[in-house]
Symmetry: C2
Subunit: 124 residues, 2 copies
């Protein structure tokens, strides 16, 4: 379990992505759900949970849910707001547009995935 | 253990990356080594190994060693040529240049990391 690299919110000024609010304890998505958006936390905190274990706390500036956009697979973990939380929802066309326009964003996503992989490797 | 998504070699026509040859059984790098290059397999096969377990077979068109370039961390697994193998070595400046010029390459790297993460999640 750990905190993730923060993203630069300036990328959001260039996209028209909707905000969504969740109450403390509210599920954002469940494991195995189909996923058509990733999220960036603007305020609050999101826990990523699998088999009842909290894998990560995602805080403002952090992203989650990007795996389903990358490989069109189901959600690999559940996401729950652990306090009142506001997120920005980024759909696949927007995600692809950001990757195309902003190589730094692409590198940040890779970095996030690499951090997660190293953490998983240590657990196995 | 599984095979990885293939990359389009045309990306290599635009970079001046050296080839390296390894004999069957030869180590390419060891776990915890510092890493300053990723590799693309041109011919042969590379096994990625940790704690004596083969995590992946990387075949022609597949890449490995990208984690160390992304987060500047040590090698998370060892890589060994399991047959006579030719790889293209891509250093960090070249990697960053490809990510900048070719969003499809960036997406492929993300996809590869996502595949690995999902596999690790299933093992935990």
């Amino acid at each position: 379990m750990g905190d993730e690299a923060s993203f630069d919110f300036s990328v959001l000024e260039r996209v028209d992505a909707p905000f969504r609010h969740f109450d403390a304890g509210q599920k954002i998505f469940l494991e195995e759900d189909a996923g058509d958006a990733m999220y960036m936390v603007r305020s609050g905190r999101v826990d990523l949970i699998t088999y009842g274990i909290v894998l990560e706390n995602v805080r403002p500036g952090g992203i989650f849910g990007e795996m389903a956009l990358i490989d069109d697979g189901p959600r690999s973990a559940a996401a729950m707001a652990s306090e009142p939380t506001e997120v920005v929802a980024i759909d696949k066309p927007t995600f692809l547009a950001i990757v195309r326009d902003d190589p730094q964003f692409a590198l940040k996503v890779m970095e996030l995935l690499a951090v997660r992989l190293r953490r998983m490797n240590k657990q196995v």
